[in-house]
């Protein structure tokens, strides 16, 4: 009889046991980190909220692909919260914000945008103006706007953009093009019109206006200048955000809504482990209990349980899962419940056949003759003999649950309030990411699903010789 310590040694002596456990610990650590740092309603308030992602580049590849020589623009989100200078002009006050950066890329930013947060004014509406000072010392006015005036009957102080920020896409805005047109005509010496430049304003703001190459970018030191002119010193603006859209973003890029894929994938870690472990634990518990009862009690109970299990385990899982989830609506707990409902019978059939063998053993006979109750024998004498096998089954069933949820999500029936790896992959697939070549959107989620499933397969493999000592000989 081997001791627990021997078993552990046996388990860790195999390569698959080592790899599996190390990865599992890593995955658990990541999950713990996510559980403590992410808000609980991450899916609804952040992931599925397009406004949250509006300042990120859309469908951008990861930053590190620039290593392979791809031309790259760094994504910059510049937040202005406190003015560098306040200039009083008669009864007005001009607040100056500025930011200097070095632009050395050969391509223009993918977009420019401006957002304003929480504007409060007391008297007349304030004005905001944004200009850029280029390396050739040209100051180009990009945008000028008066905050919306008081509505009829509205009493001060007037609060603007507090629920959702004011956001404008400077690249595609016609008023920006009108502001730029004089500058562009002077520089390029041509009678270009406003309609020609709208939609690609950013290209002209950063253009070198080289006569030979119209695409050439003026590199060097740029300065963003923002003037916020108010009529009262009590007026306030909490934040101004200027975004220089990059051509790449983050560790794993973004999807077509600008969502940071690595953020979504991180959230998938605890969800995948939750789906896998909860489903397999409950399934194994029910399967074991039914199997032991069926095998030990015999008689009519046995027949009923076996007929029932036979039928249930013979129902093709994916079609019935699709049907039920479609009718009842995509909810994660429901998916897990259905997986349990159709998962336990398979185990029950196996456990029963094992119990039938144990039944005839002398230890059970001894317990019976000592007057042990039915439940005591099942719990104290039969269950412990099966425990290692049951544990191995639990591990082995875990990836099945994870893969089933991923398949369901991939077919478009994922729970929209809880983003999973399968859903991220499905989004990429449905948007045509496979055909357009958004590999960073397709490969990582699939790879994570495979790795997670593999962890449990590896652990199950390493458990096999421990559970089933006969295999050692082979």
């Amino acid at each position: 009889m081997s001791t627990n310590r021997d078993n552990l040694k046996e388990f860790f002596s195999s390569t698959s046991g080592k790899i599996g456990s190390i990865l599992l610990v890593l995955f658990i650590l990541i999950s713990v980190f996510v559980v403590f740092t992410y808000p609980l309603n991450f899916g609804n308030t952040i992931w599925s909220n397009p406004a949250y992602w509006s300042d990120y580049p859309k469908s951008a590849p990861p930053t590190w692909i620039s290593i392979f020589g791809n031309e790259n623009v760094e994504h910059q989100i510049i937040d202005f919260t406190s003015p560098v200078d306040i200039v009083p002009i008669s009864n007005q006050e001009q607040r100056l914000y500025s930011y200097t950066f070095n632009y050395d890329s050969n391509i223009s930013p993918t977009f420019l945008s401006l957002s304003m947060y929480d504007v409060v004014y007391h008297d007349r509406p304030p004005t905001i103006s944004v200009s850029i000072l280029r390396p050739d010392n040209e100051e180009v006015l990009i945008y000028r706007e008066v905050i919306s005036p008081p509505r009829p009957g509205e009493e001060g102080p007037y609060i603007r953009y507090s629920d959702s920020p004011f956001r404008i896409n400077l690249s595609g805005d016609k008023s920006v093009s009108s502001n730029l047109i004089q500058f562009v005509q002077d520089k390029s010496n041509s009678q270009i019109s406003v309609n020609d430049i709208v939609g690609s304003n950013e290209k002209y703001i950063f253009s070198a206006f080289s006569p030979t190459d119209s695409q050439e970018i003026l590199t060097g030191e740029y300065k963003i200048l923002i003037k916020f002119v108010t009529n009262s010193e009590n007026d306030s603006i909490s934040k101004i955000r200027f975004v220089l859209g990059g051509s790449s973003y983050g560790l794993l890029g973004t999807d077509s809504l600008g969502r940071n894929i690595s953020v979504g994938l991180l959230f998938g870690f605890p969800i995948a482990l939750l789906i896998g472990l909860t489903t397999s634990t409950i399934t194994t518990m029910i399967g074991t209990a039914m199997g032991i009862i069926s095998g030990y009690t015999g008689g009519r109970t046995d027949t009923i349980i076996q007929r029932f299990s036979d039928t249930l385990s013979n129902i093709p899982l994916l079609p019935i899962l699709l049907f039920l989830i479609f009718i009842f609506g995509p909810q994660l707990w429901l998916v897990m419940t259905i997986l349990v409902l159709f998962g336990w019978p398979g185990l029950t059939i196996i456990i029963r056949s094992m119990v039938l063998q144990i039944n005839s053993s002398q230890s059970i006979e001894a317990a019976k003759s000592l007057g042990a109750s039915k439940w005591r024998i099942m719990y104290r004498h039969i269950f412990p003999q099966l425990a290692p096998f049951i544990f191995a089954q639990l591990v082995f069933f875990t990836p099945a649950a994870i893969l089933a949820e991923a398949s369901l999500s991939f077919l478009g029936l994922g729970d929209p309030s809880i983003p999973t790896w399968g859903q991220i992959l499905e989004n990429g697939f449905r948007t045509g990411g496979v055909y357009i070549g958004y590999w960073w959107w397709i490969l990582p989620p699939g790879l994570l699903i495979v790795i997670t499933a593999m962890i449990f397969v590896f652990i199950a493999l390493a458990l096999e010789p421990v559970v089933n000592p006969k295999l050692k000989k082979m």
């Binding site: 019935i320 049907f323 077919l411 495979v450 593999m454």
Partner: protein, 349 residues
């Protein structure tokens, strides 16, 4: 006699599975109000047709309304919409059995029909073609490799097959399909990425056949890859178990050549359990086919599932769930017959 009896018992238990699925879906549809909606839609569809044909003959609008209202009441009684859903159970079961599920909301068959039965039945052959060819290829490769590695336990080939089998258990068919599309259709550009025919399809019959074959390569290859590893491993284990039996040793001791021992004494005995493991893998390959068809745009019932989910077409989904269960039950029964044929113990009991 006993052979027939066994088959009847197996057949009956499979029939129970089919009926369970039918009743489960009908009860779910009834209790959630879906069946009411399905039937109401059928009624209004019929009334619309009636109104069109009657408006030619009846000029008076009041009279027309009266006739239609009468017909509506008749139809509501006919379909049992005036009574709670559980009175309609047998009727609904029969409707699903005959795929009489009315019209699909937005989906159309390739010929333009919007009848659910037309849409589903038209795609059935494509799914059967995909699953059958993949299963046959997997079985042949699995048998060959499984038997081969059973004779060389511990070899590099044997170990790589067992690792591959473990990996393929964790490999979702749809993700593998996507990888293959990226690799073979976009990087190497040697195979088409989706569909069953080129657009426009070739007119000459042989070219048509070749065109279909080329389109089928990737889906079938994907299905084979995800299941062939575990299959070979299952065959290996069964062959290995039997080759340690006494009668095999006796056969060897008699001096029979090794391939004869393998053929007549090991594989012959291992065949029934091998079929059993094929049976157990059946639900898995059915699910795999649904996902593979979706990825490759293969116009079968699996791809239809995806389209029906996107279009929220409930009657198509009900029909598909039934058809897949039916497909499973039939495939399963064929394998049961194979099992009975292969296992003499069942025959001479």
């Amino acid at each position: 006699m006993s052979l027939l009896q066994t088959l009847i018992v197996r057949g009956l238990s499979l029939l129970v599975v089919l009926i369970t699925v039918l009743f489960l879906s009908v009860i779910v549809l009834g209790a959630t109000g879906y069946s009411d909606r399905l039937l109401t839609a059928t009624v209004s569809e019929e009334l619309r047709g009636l109104r069109q044909s009657l408006s030619q003959n009846i000029r008076d609008p009041n009279e027309l309304e009266q006739v239609i209202e009468d017909r509506r009441e008749q139809l509501i009684e006919f379909y049992g919409l005036d009574r709670p859903w559980y009175y309609r159970l047998p009727d609904m079961v029969f409707r699903i059995l005959t795929l009489d599920l009315g019209e699909a909301r937005t989906l159309r068959s390739f010929t333009g029909s919007n009848r659910v039965s037309d849409i589903v039945l038209e795609r059935l052959p494509n799914t059967v073609l995909l699953i059958t060819s993949a299963t046959i290829i997997t079985s042949i490769i699995g048998l060959y490799v499984g038997v081969k590695i059973a004779t060389q336990v511990g070899s590099r080939l044997e170990r790589s097959v067992s690792y591959f089998s473990a990996i393929s258990y964790a490999l979702p068919a749809w993700w593998l399909g996507i990888i293959f599309i990226i690799l073979f259709a976009f990087q190497l550009r040697i195979l088409p990425s989706s569909g069953m025919f080129s657009v426009p399809p070739p007119t000459e019959p042989f070219a048509r056949f070749l065109d279909r074959l080329v389109h089928a390569i990737l889906p079938i290859f994907t299905l084979v890859i995800v299941s062939v590893g575990s299959w070979s491993y299952a065959v290996r284990t069964m062959v290995l178990n039997i080759s340690q039996e006494d009668f095999v040793n006796v056969a060897r001791a008699k001096g029979l050549p090794e391939n004869l021992v393998m053929r007549r004494h090991i594989i012959r005995v291992a065949a029934p359990p091998i079929v059993t493991s094929l049976i157990l893998g059946l639900t898995g390959s059915l699910g795999g086919a649904i996902l593979t068809e979706t990825v490759f745009g293969w116009p079968g019932m699996g791809r239809l599932y995806y389209e029906a989910i996107l279009a929220a077409d409930e009657s198509v989904i009900v029909a598909l769930t039934f058809m897949f269960t039916l497909l499973y039950v039939i495939a399963r029964f064929i394998l049961e017959i194979l099992y009975v044929v292969l296992d003499p113990r069942v025959r001479y009991k």
